[in-house]
Symmetry: C3
Subunit: 247 residues, 3 copies
């Protein structure tokens, strides 16, 4: 059918580790170069979680070199996904905070399971972290400036119905219909001629993609100097402790 | 009353041919230079159609010189209408795809007949064509980035009620009340002092107008090279065949 | 609690006179430099009016030097408030036209009294005046381009319920609950770590703040030449006469 299904399977919560991101980029590149493949559906094989976002262990107590390598992988994931020539549909079958939300925002269309316990949002601020400008640009393109401004400052996570209301996701469907619906939406998008659709997508997203491409190394340095601060490291350690206790 | 009514009357579907566009620009310029004229209402004399958009026969099997002349006329129409000092109200009394939608989007206010059979949208992608960046800029200014992005990729045409919900039109009224309502809206806008209103309008639209003005010849060349592609010519010919069969 | 309350008390209508603006900037700067202060709530001590906006007497029949001094004070107010590192909440307990609306728009969050007689908007056009580009930028960031474009051209004032619908205010509460609600919202925002929140706020607002900073003197000259026009002076005098008669 020309449609690939990428199912995230990195239990317990599909954290975006360096390994996860590297594999994701390789898989996406393969599909991108496969002329038989015209669209990809992103979803999760882990119950109740789409992706928990960037893996905090990659940002805590590691070397400067590691931070740089990790951040380049995060950039690479976004540059490839947001700039993909394929039709990209996120079948968000669980919660999707921070980097997980970014992955969904970078697709062409977002369908979420109709479960009020599923939440989505760029909640970096809650961890004392700042979402970088390209997370912000992607977010503004989807929900507009006002919602992005308060959401990013408050690190808001929205339950599925609220996410729909804000346009953060395009549609809610009962969980058991999610994959079927994603396939139907994909078929609708693939009914259009690829060439015009790809040029149009590029026209819409180019300014924001170019901005990171032009400031990529600066953005890496910025991340390193921010994440290396003792205050930030401390707050990440506390957050990890809290997560462990939760279990 | 200082208000002109421009009624499109180019049966069967008010296609934007080179002749139509040239006459439109001349008429608009006359009104613009007439100090007694402060506002113009655009509507159609053809039942159930506002304008079907760019005339495909102008883009099919013609010379490079013809494509260039035609595209400059399309640009000219938009530069004059979007940049008009007059109050411009679109009384959309029928369907309004592609270039017809652009004309409506370029006015200050859009009122549409409350008829679910009337649809409006930038559906270029359905013909394998890419809406140029200034169509896109105008669209984003009206409906925001997210709706513009998916609409342009899918070539979506929206029935009147959906167009209202998305802000693509500002108001729906029963068809028989459309002209009356357009006149009332015009009166409301003309109650404001011209000078401040014109400066404000220019402030809001200048960035987008300047962008085409600065890249006008490049945009012409871009159109020519795109439309001259054999694949595009073929898809336009097929579309015209389909239209003929429909009749 | 780290929260300051600034109550505008300049009867009869909290006009933004040169004196008011100067005092406002001094107070805000003091709070900004006070490390114990993390947030400020703006509200009015005058019944039924938040602020009536720029004091017209400062713009009428005065010297060029006075106009320049006044306009720099208006710019200064906005640069400090829109760029504040503190959490800023507007408790809009009355009508808030023009410059009063700008002050509310420059806060992080707007709560308005649930009174249909309270209205808010940038109604400069009704006086024959043009809102400057940075009023416009601030407005677009809150309500988007389409609403800003028509509102600014029409000088629209919106009753509280309509203002909520457009996103011009974030929430309506019964008047007697307004201060309580503002304090609760402030507490919610202050629950986030300051550092990440401040960097995020700056990232969201920097482009618009920088634009005035880069064109500040040009904007002053622009104001002076506009306001010095005899036609504008006449229209302001007429407006003031009308206000006097209303009393």
């Amino acid at each position: 059918t020309g449609v690939a299904l990428m199912k995230f399977k990195s239990p317990p919560v599909n954290s975006l580790s360096l390994e996860f991101l590297t594999e994701f980029c390789i898989s996406l590149e393969k599909l991108e170069n496969d002329r038989a493949c015209r669209g990809v559906i992103l979803t999760s094989a882990v119950p109740r979680i789409f992706s928990s976002g960037l893996d905090i262990t990659e940002m805590c107590g590691k070397s400067t070199e590691h931070y740089a390598e990790f951040w380049r992988a995060v950039q690479e994931m976004w540059l490839r996904l947001y700039g993909s020539n394929m039709v990209t549909v996120a079948a968000v079958n669980g919660s999707s905070p921070a980097g997980g939300c970014l992955m969904a925002l970078s697709c062409d269309y977002r369908i979420m399971g109709e479960n009020p316990k599923f939440s989505i949002g760029l909640n970096e601020a809650q961890l004392g972290i700042v979402a970088p400008f390209w997370f912000k640009d992607t977010f503004v393109n989807v929900v507009g400036h006002r919602i992005a401004e308060s959401s990013l400052q408050l690190g808001s996570l929205y339950p599925a119905p609220e996410a729909l209301r804000l346009g953060l996701v395009d549609e809610l469907v009962p969980e058991e219909k999610l994959q079927e619906k994603a396939a139907a939406v994909m078929a609708q998008w693939l009914a259009l001629p690829d060439h015009a659709r790809q040029l149009t997508k590029s026209m819409m997203r180019k300014a924001v993609l170019d901005r990171l491409a032009a400031h990529r190394e600066e953005d890496v340095q910025n991340f390193i100097s921010f994440i290396s601060k003792e205050s930030i490291q401390k707050s990440l350690r506390m957050y990890m402790e809290m997560l462990k206790k939760k279990k």
